[in-house]
């Protein structure tokens, strides 16, 4: 008996993902990403001067991440002012980016990454981080690798990849946001709520690693489209 989910996916299957780089002309780099019903636009500005000067570090640069959700992106209208959740996500995703971006290459400067969620359906932060990696590459920012991000977890007794909102609402639901540098397997984002045994944790991590490799492949394919060829 093959176990299938409400939307017909296998336990390990990701929702459809679409990535388009270079969508914002004024920005130094950008990407549009759809992940299931999630829709996000990410723009990168920088490296640029960080003022006031006393906030800048003469030995290395910094990268900032600002995560915002549109009031119409969720079921109940959300106040456009950033809430505590938005600020926390901005912080941890920014920290994930700080490990992959080569900050020593632009001392005293800043790379600012902005993510605007237009439609949300569980997994907005991993969508935004996956898109951010593409936008940073689009901007020519030096990085160790393309960060790939995915959510894994548990619902109704199964360890799953990429939970939807209704799966997140299951009574035994566990949701884990995960991101790593695929080539070195360095984990840069890890957040979890729910209860997992160590065995379940191992299973979830194994799936997360596999899916990140898959996602990196999609990021690469999307960026390849920037290199047009003449017929």
């Amino acid at each position: 008996m093959v176990k299938k989910r409400i939307d017909g996916r296998d336990l390990n299957e990701l929702r459809p993902i679409k990535i388009i780089p270079s969508v914002i002309g004024r920005a130094d780099g950008s990407a549009y990403l759809e992940w299931g019903h999630n829709k996000v636009i990410v723009a990168v500005y920088g490296p640029r001067e960080l003022l006031p000067k006393h906030l800048s570090d003469p030995t290395k640069g910094r990268v900032t991440f600002t995560y915002r959700m549109a009031p119409f992106s969720v079921s109940e209208r959300k106040n456009p002012k950033p809430g505590r959740r938005d600020i926390e996500i901005s912080k941890v995703v920014g920290e994930a980016l700080s490990h992959t971006v080569m900050l020593e290459e632009f001392p005293g400067m800043t790379v600012d990454v902005y993510a605007q969620i237009l439609d949300a359906d569980a997994g907005t932060r991993v969508s935004a981080l996956t898109a951010a990696a593409v936008a940073l590459a689009d901007a020519g920012i030096p990085m160790k690798d393309l960060i790939a991000s995915v959510s894994v977890g548990k619902a109704n007794g199964n360890i799953l990849a990429d939970l939807t909102k209704s799966e997140e609402d299951a009574p035994d639901a566990v949701d884990m946001a995960f991101a790593m540098l695929p080539n070195s397997e360095e984990v840069v984002l890890l957040q979890m709520d729910g209860v997992l045994s160590e065995d379940e944790y191992d299973k979830a991590i194994k799936i997360a690693k596999e899916k990140c490799q898959e996602i990196r492949g999609m990021q690469v394919d999307a960026l390849k489209s920037k290199f047009k060829t003449l017929k």
């Binding site: 002309g25 990410v42 500005y45 119409f72 439609d119």
Partner: protein, 261 residues
């Protein structure tokens, strides 16, 4: 892509000679592309590309208590955010005077033309009514944010699906019940004065070179229902009449685009 701001002097000189980029006429719009109905959670949505200017609008309907001075009416709230995504000059943070002016001008155009009959949004007089929230994001600034935001708002409103309500007028999640009805389809057009020339739909360079700006909204009867002059320059009375004349000419063209949605 060019960061156009440096071409301001050049733009002023060219306009003085009657030249616009790619031979555009003084009363010609750049290419307008509008998409609607692509978001799951929004009641209505629109993506507008006016040249390279990109604006997203989304609507949400909430059930709330009518205001004491209009107990039998629902209402509409319009907001614009100049996202830091859209330009190196936009900062993250609370709305500034530019985004507030944009929101209020778009609101006025829609409201004064009596686009929506607020009485039809009333559910229980004095107690419950539908309130429509239009939120817009400027995600790429290439000039004429006024018209781009206006088109996004009206397109999102026109394609807004009303929520289904239960007997107590609470929203039933995931179900809709018909479209938001727009009684009118007003049209807003925005003009810049640069080097004593009046031009429609300024691009980014022309926007930065603008001495005075006028947005005019016409209703279905070609009556003027909203006006807004902005920037630190001035208009002569003749220039204002000229603008009204041009806006009446452009009305049909833009109305056709909105009607098709």
């Amino acid at each position: 892509m060019l960061n156009y701001v440096y071409d301001i002097e050049l733009t002023k000189n060219k306009l003085a000679k009657g030249e616009r980029t790619k031979g555009r006429k003084d009363d010609e719009y750049r290419e307008i592309k509008i998409e609607t109905g692509f978001l799951k959670n929004a009641a209505g949505c629109a993506k507008v590309q006016l040249g390279n200017t990109l604006v997203y609008a989304g609507t949400k309907i909430e059930i709330g208590q009518p205001y004491p001075d209009s107990p039998e009416e629902g209402g509409i709230t319009v907001g614009v955010e100049l996202s830091p995504i859209g330009s190196p000059d936009f900062n993250a943070g609370p709305p500034n005077e530019t985004s507030i002016e944009l929101g209020r001008v778009v609101d006025r155009g829609i409201r004064e033309a009596k686009t929506i009959d607020f009485k039809k949004l009333c559910l229980v007089p004095g107690e419950k009514a539908c309130f429509v929230y239009v939120d817009m994001y400027v995600l790429n600034h290439d000039g004429n944010l006024f018209d781009a935001c206006y088109l996004a708002a009206i397109a999102a409103l026109k394609t807004t699906k009303m929520p289904k309500l239960d007997k107590e007028y609470n929203v039933i999640k995931g179900e809709t019940s018909g479209n938001l009805v727009l009684d009118k389809l007003p049209v807003m057009t925005t003009y810049s004065k640069v080097s004593n020339k009046i031009i429609l739909d300024p691009d980014l360079n022309e926007d930065y070179a603008t001495e005075a700006r006028l947005s005019i909204t016409l209703d279905d009867n070609l009556n003027i229902c909203a006006l807004q002059k902005g920037e630190k320059g001035f208009f002569t009375l003749e220039e204002l009449k000229e603008i009204i004349k041009t806006s009446k000419k452009k009305y049909k063209e833009i109305r056709k685009i909105i009607e098709k949605l």
